[in-house]
């Protein structure tokens, strides 16, 4: 069971400012634990502040105050090969509503939270999604080999990822071993 240990933000990184990496997912659903696993390993590096949200609801609103740039790390299902890493810029305009915002608290997603912040004239950070294509989210506590390998590569080459964030990106495949490729 995870206990938050490192909430202090590091020094601002050039034009990214204070960077916070937020892992999303469940530790009990196979590859859906990719966010948890990556945060766990990034913490050991000590490069950036990290946070893990197993149930990202209203608490996301508070996290948005804590950084100038937020990288959400989550499982991705796009049809690409398992382990494929994609980097996407996130904006409220591009997000689809869960159409449950007026329903229960379970319906509060990132889009609804960004809308509330916008209505309150609260500035929101730049946001990116680092999505890792998964093989299976069946119940279990082990990552697939392909996703384990992807986590290892992202951790090893995280400084390179930060460089790419500074260059600005809309969406790209991220292949740290070679060079990033615009999609």
């Amino acid at each position: 069971m995870e206990i938050e240990q490192n909430r202090a933000l590091g020094e601002p990184i050039d034009n990214l400012g204070r960077v916070l990496v937020v892992g999303l997912g469940s530790g009990l659903a196979g590859d859906d634990a990719v966010g948890l696993q990556l945060i766990s390993q990034l913490r050991q590096q000590g490069l950036v502040a990290c946070h893990f949200l197993e149930l990202p609801q209203m608490d996301v609103l508070e996290i948005l105050d804590e950084a100038d740039t937020i990288v959400f790390v989550d499982a991705l299902v796009s049809g690409a090969a398992p382990g494929t890493v994609q980097l996407l810029a996130l904006s409220a305009a591009q997000m689809e509503s869960r159409n449950e915002a007026a329903f229960s608290l379970h319906g509060w997603g990132l889009k609804e939270i960004l809308e509330l912040r916008g209505a309150l004239d609260l500035q929101s950070p730049r946001m990116f999604l680092l999505g890792i294509e998964i093989e299976s989210a069946a119940p279990g506590t082990e990552l697939s080999a392909a996703v384990q390998m992807a986590v290892k590569k992202v951790v090893q080459h995280f400084p390179q990822l930060l460089d790419q964030l500074q260059e600005g990106t809309e969406r790209r495949l991220w292949e740290p071993d070679t060079a990033s490729t615009e999609r």
Partner: protein, 433 residues
């Protein structure tokens, strides 16, 4: 609207609550024929899969019942297990557990008052749509919630599903210096919560005054949170060990949540902030008591819509008490007491933000759970919500369906229902004959 027409009104998904449920109304001949709260969030079987788990796993597992009130589940479980083991926690640990509960009351009450309930009173669909006119108030509510969450994180390791609570005490306790850093935040929170009482006191409260039986814990020396006798406005006063003799859970076919009733009479009862204020107002801390009196509240307060005001007064109390505990806090020599595991059975009741929460466990010589029973506050209020709807709807019969549905949702939100807990709840359907 002619009276010989059947009108069926259905609210498929009750909004601004925690979890999933709906309301169905059948109106026939100008009368309310049927009222149903339909709880369709899947049953979650916690009591079953606790069986076979070790007693020290219980606080962490039951915390998963709810993302808004996990502390309540941790508190009722550790007290029940400690009662079964004969374990008495250190007084400093008792104070810390109370502080943890205050943190949960702060974040939960602030969330409900500002983001879930205020739009009903102010005529908005959601907090987002009321932000333009009430931005300052919403920011105040969000900051209050954040302070509660920060305190939860400091004490519990993380704000949602804290992981520090164990049978016997805490795995880890905070240092005095860490807690003292929160003093200025809590000073601000007391002022903000007093402003909350004034703001909520200015709302227009619909007129409804059922003859409730209010039920809550009552303690001779403090505003009951973690312990006390089970008391009611009709003279009930018994130890938590007798809870199941006075209150029965019933299966209702349409609902994945059990409904609780009084054992002999089979009647509904009311748990939550309004019950606590009616029975325990004399135990409020000074600023909360002053706010309650200044709002003109004279018990018995039976208008369920005034539950919003009761919640605001409890917000003041929780902030006051949190500050008092922090200022007098000294780190305990040991964060938890040692104990020997033995075969046993124990129960406890504590006050979750939404009302009384009862747990009972039986465990083996190895400390493995053989039986678990959890009675959450929302399932205790479900029958009462249906009774309230039966009383409210006749006054609304001539109104359009949309207005009836809105009024019913508002009424149910008075109870701050936590449906995910109860299925351990709302759609409205109205059928007019």
């Amino acid at each position: 609207m002619t009276q010989d027409i059947t009108r069926t009104l259905r609210l498929e998904n009750l909004s601004r609550v925690e979890g999933e449920g709906g309301i169905s109304l059948c109106l026939e001949g100008g009368q309310v024929k049927d009222v149903q709260l339909n709880i369709f969030e899947p049953p979650r079987f916690f009591e079953a899969f606790l069986q076979g788990r070790h007693i020290q796993e219980v606080p962490d597992i039951v915390a998963r019942i709810c993302g808004i009130c996990p502390v309540a589940y941790q508190m009722s479980s550790v007290h029940a297990l400690e009662n079964g083991l004969g374990v008495v926690a250190d007084p400093a640990v008792r104070a810390l557990r109370r502080l943890l509960y205050c943190a949960e009351w702060i974040e939960s009450h602030a969330l409900h008052i500002y983001l879930l309930h205020a739009p009903d009173f102010l005529g908005y669909e959601s907090a987002v749509s009321m932000a333009e006119k009430y931005g300052a108030e919403l920011k105040r509510g969000l900051r209050l919630k954040k302070i509660g969450n920060h305190l939860l994180e400091l004490l519990g390791g993380r704000a949602i599903h804290p992981v520090s609570v164990c049978v016997g005490g805490f795995y880890k306790v905070p240092q005095r210096e860490e807690l003292l850093k929160l003093r200025s935040d809590l000073d601000w929170a007391i002022k903000a919560s007093l402003e909350t009482v004034t703001w909520v006191g200015g709302f227009r409260f619909p007129d409804l005054t059922p003859d409730y039986e209010f039920v809550c814990l009552s303690h001779p020396d403090e505003y009951a949170m973690n312990e006390g006798h089970v008391a009611s406005s009709r003279g009930l006063n018994l130890p938590p060990s007798q809870f199941e003799h006075a209150f029965l859970e019933e299966h209702v076919q349409r609902s994945t949540a059990l409904h609780s009733v009084r054992a002999q009479a089979g009647t509904s009862y009311f748990v939550g902030p309004l019950a606590r204020l009616n029975l325990n107002h004399d135990k409020l801390l000074p600023q909360a008591k002053q706010a309650w009196m200044a709002a003109g509240m004279t018990p018995p307060v039976r208008n369920p819509f005034l539950g919003a005001l009761a919640r605001a007064v409890e917000l003041v109390h929780a902030c006051e008490e949190a500050l008092a505990i922090i200022e007098s806090y000294q780190e305990p020599q040991r964060s938890r007491v040692d104990f020997s595991i033995r075969k046993g059975e124990g129960c406890a009741a504590t006050e979750a933000p939404r009302g009384i929460l009862f747990h009972r466990y039986r465990f083996s010589e190895q400390g493995l759970i053989e039986f678990a029973k959890i009675v959450p506050p929302t399932s205790q209020n479900l029958r009462r919500m249906e009774d309230d709807l039966r009383l409210l709807v006749p006054s609304l019969m001539q109104r359009p369906d949309e207005e009836i549905i809105r009024a019913c949702e508002h009424l149910v939100r008075n109870y701050d229902p936590c449906i995910s807990c109860s299925t351990h709840f709302t759609k409205v359907r109205i059928r007019r004959n």
